[in-house]
Amino acid sequence: MNFSYPSGSSTLYLALAVTVIFGFLIMFGMMSMPARWRRPVVVTCTFISGLIYVAYYLWPKPQSFGPRDIPLNWSEWVGSQLADTIGVAGTISTALTTFLLGLGIYSLVRIHGRKLIRMQKDWAFSLVLLISMLAIVIFGYWSYYQTKFGPDASKLQDAANWTWVNYTNDFLFDGLLQQMEGAMFSVIAFYILSAAYRAFRIRSVEATILLASALIMMLSLMGAVEFLWNSKFDHSGAFVANFQLTEIARWIRDTFQTPGIRALEFGIGLGALAMGLRLWLSLEKGGVSA
């Protein structure tokens, strides 16, 4: 089935309008539905959605099956149908997840708008937030339109020909947002240094082992130290070559760090599997299952 229509065509706009109306109808229907009926609908949708993915992973996959190939038997037919369904399911789930972005914006505007109207404590920060959000949306789309669809779109690909709109957008995105994000992240360096001085103490055997390992790993990241250290033990094939900084660091990484993380992730994976099963089969007590 093809849901792709030519850009700017009336069919596309009609399809969009129908989709929006249909979406609202479903939402309205769900909201006005009695709570006892709502649960079976949600449980059924969750189970069917999960079943598509479970079936796709468990069903034998047809080998070297191209888009124009005809299935040889029913097993191959099911496999090819599941592979096609996964694409559609992925698009639907992406569209659904995208609604979270809209929900986030709605929530942000609602909370800060209310704070601003009621002039609650720190209302000025809410004002800054709303103005910033509005400005970046307006200039972002305006600049996008100019550089992609405007009469001088091809000229604007070169930064030398930018208009004030492009410069403002660049200032808001690269000049402010990105730089502030960078500044926030760099503050961590100060916390790490402060913690290293105040909290990283040799109080027990475990702490001493941790400190020694961390010291070796840190030294191994310093190329100059590594170069000097390794040159003292640089005897290819000899036993002493094991005492090169890179070798010690690799030993710590491969023998302790990686297996440790792997074990942790294995545990997390088992937990996620159990949680996934509970959600899929709607055994969870919270949410719509409550």
């Binding site: 694409g87 789930s93 992406t94 001085y197 103490r201 400190l211 310093m222 190329g223 390794n230 990686t258």
Partner: protein
Amino acid sequence: MDTPQDPTPISAEEVQLLEVKRIEKQAHRTRMILFGLLILASSLPLFLTLNVPNKPTQATVDLYSTIMAVPDGSTILLQTDWTTSTRGESGGEFEGLMRVLMRKNCKVALYSMSDAQAPKVAMDEIVLTLNPERKLKGEREYKAWDDYISLGFFPNAEGETASMAANLRSAWNGKKYINDSGEPEDVFQSPVLSKVQSITSVPLVVIITATSSFNVLIERLSGKVPIVALVTGVMGPETNVYYSSKQIQGLATGMKGVYDLETMMEDGINSPGPNGKVGFQWENHPPVKGFPGETNYGRGKLYFPTLHIDMALLILAVIFGNVGMFMAKKRGNR
């Protein structure tokens, strides 16, 4: 005659409070000195050009070999999950990788599964940093639509990557990008994706990330297509799990990873340079060429000395902290 009154005696609680205040003041002063040192240590090396000796690691050697093994002119998928907050590491990794791919005339389809800002940050790097650099050297600029496209941000990494693995054409069906005539056109009509039929027809998937977004990518795509990862220092240990199990073919971690990549871009691996000398030797590895004399060094070389000094400062902070603790203990025992 009135006798002078004794000063009001201070209670034990007040003495304790004063002591706490004194310690807090001292700690604050020490912290300020440390912060001042950190600012100086991080800023000063940026004004100097230092050649710090470096030997790339096995993981980055594998990364560079895998990238260089990609056939010239082919299309690679680039999952770019970083923003300016980690530009020191991720920006350097992106620039290094793109310089190599541009020299190999590879086409790039980039997308993000982790951050809505990420595709714009990556596109800006190409348009505002890498293209002017090429223009200055009289080389061909990389053009959107013809050489690279941005598929944007996919908020549902799990579902999208599973779809990509099952059927790439169906996963990106209906996605449009502005073509060179300024019209929105199907992404599979672009020279970048026109020859791509499925994930297995892509020679390489690269992920540059500052988060654990590589987990989903590796879980869904490993075994179907070669994957290499360029991650921040923080994410290094977690990603190393996949490198050691050979689920990814190469790995660059943090600032050292960037400098390793830049070193191999300059010297190659077991490859004789213009003077006939091998710049970087790696035992039992086939020769892989570098790009001597080109713009290879960037953020890696610039920030690597800073990393040294900051690491040294960190080690000193730990040492002084512990020495202080032992001295305080000794005073307490006396």
